[in-house]
Symmetry: C2
Subunit: 244 residues, 2 copies
């Protein structure tokens, strides 16, 4: 097992189970275990809520009890929104997945238990776990939807596993323009502005410096300089045409 | 505004809007803006999906366009799963909410744009934003549910805003037992085990040390020592009773 196993204890709603599968697939988890789903399994509606993550539903394993569902694992986390008076370590999702990552790297099987939609995990089920996971929710509105809870754990797993790498990068992809090009662009702007009497008497040095500060902030690429230079030329030449 | 504003552009499904409100309430966000919801607003079914977060739905503001919805803000993030060829910074949810936190602390209004369920934000809408947010998803299964995307941003906001504080702490709440009590407990175990010939000849020192190592790992509190000592006494006296 190279990833944590997600274990739903007596889940009730088909939509939630489908959304759990989708959330797992979003963040590269694949092993789902179901403990005694209410009203049986498979459930109508789970597939459409999974939005394409049907492989996870089809490979989901069924168990009669939480104890059987974790039998082959070495480290088990139990999610709960409520303090249970059990003297276990309590992690947030980020620290929990840090622990999971270290244990999986050491060859251990790791699972995360999620309870029933309305009532969560029973205390006896939590006592099967090594540690508790809870979420940094508003204490006045602490009830997370089941699939949302699975999503946060899956997200934190993936964030740890990939070092937060994103599917695409962004920002300024071209390198900044060479200084010579930039300074020549500044000169060009100042010449054109002088030609239209933009600068009040004696103010040119400070106004030119302010404009250079604005333009420096942009970290312009060569292409950017060409684009802006073209726009300014168009403005200046439009004026010249009108002035003919 | 002390929190980021969540802006849904042309959301379609009532359940998603309700789940968005619930996710926001879980993590202390409250200001929701809706841009031209498909088939009008309010929508049947949103309230029940909000699971109690109805104040957020009732206070949601309606706008005709994304441009109007962000008019009073100072910094705008656009969420997208796809590279758009726009030369903006690209953040993950954690870095994005770090940026949001710094700007809100400086008195700026910050908003996050989320697109339509099927097609996301249009390129023109993304070009209204200062930066892009994307999620560290599996590139082969990158479509996050709308409410799941809002949840991740809300979670990262709250994690930043609270420094990851959890609603309750856990672990060993009582301090470890004083050494004298622990060593006396070790002596007691060793005496009882000697009385039942547990140690093979010459092996006592190493076996006793191994047992002490196991017990040290537990970081026992005074109460823990009393509990275990009681359990061992019960075993030992049960044997004495049988042996009478």
């Amino acid at each position: 097992m190279h990833h944590p196993v997600i274990i739903l204890v007596e889940p009730q709603l088909a939509e939630n189970i489908g959304m759990v599968a989708r959330a797992m697939a979003n963040f590269c988890l694949s092993e789902l275990r179901l403990v005694a789903p209410r009203n049986g399994w498979p459930k109508k509606g789970a597939h459409s809520a999974a939005s394409g993550a049907t492989h996870i539903l089809e490979n989901a394993k069924l168990f009669a009890t939480a104890r059987e569902a974790i039998a082959d694992l070495h480290y088990v986390l139990a999610t709960t929104a409520r303090e249970r008076g059990q003297m276990k370590r309590v992690f947030g999702p980020d620290a929990a997945m840090g622990e999971a990552q270290a244990r999986i790297a050491a060859g251990q099987g790791v699972g995360v238990l999620f309870g029933r939609e309305r009532t969560g995990l029973e205390n006896d089920e939590i006592s099967l776990a090594d540690a508790i996971v809870t979420f940094p929710v508003d204490p006045k509105f602490s009830s997370l939807n089941l699939a949302q809870a699975v999503l946060l754990m899956s997200y934190e797993w993936q964030r740890r596993a990939t070092g937060g790498a994103l599917p695409f990068a962004g920002g300024q992809q071209a390198p900044p323009a060479p200084r010579e090009m930039l300074v020549s662009f500044f000169d060009y702007i100042e010449t054109e502005l002088e030609a239209v009497n933009f600068y009040p008497e004696d103010k040119k040095p400070i106004m030119a410096r302010n404009m250079r500060d604005i333009l420096h902030r942009l970290e312009l690429s060569e292409q950017d300089v060409r684009t802006l230079r073209g726009a300014i030329r168009a403005l200046a030449e439009g004026r010249r045409l009108r002035n003919r």
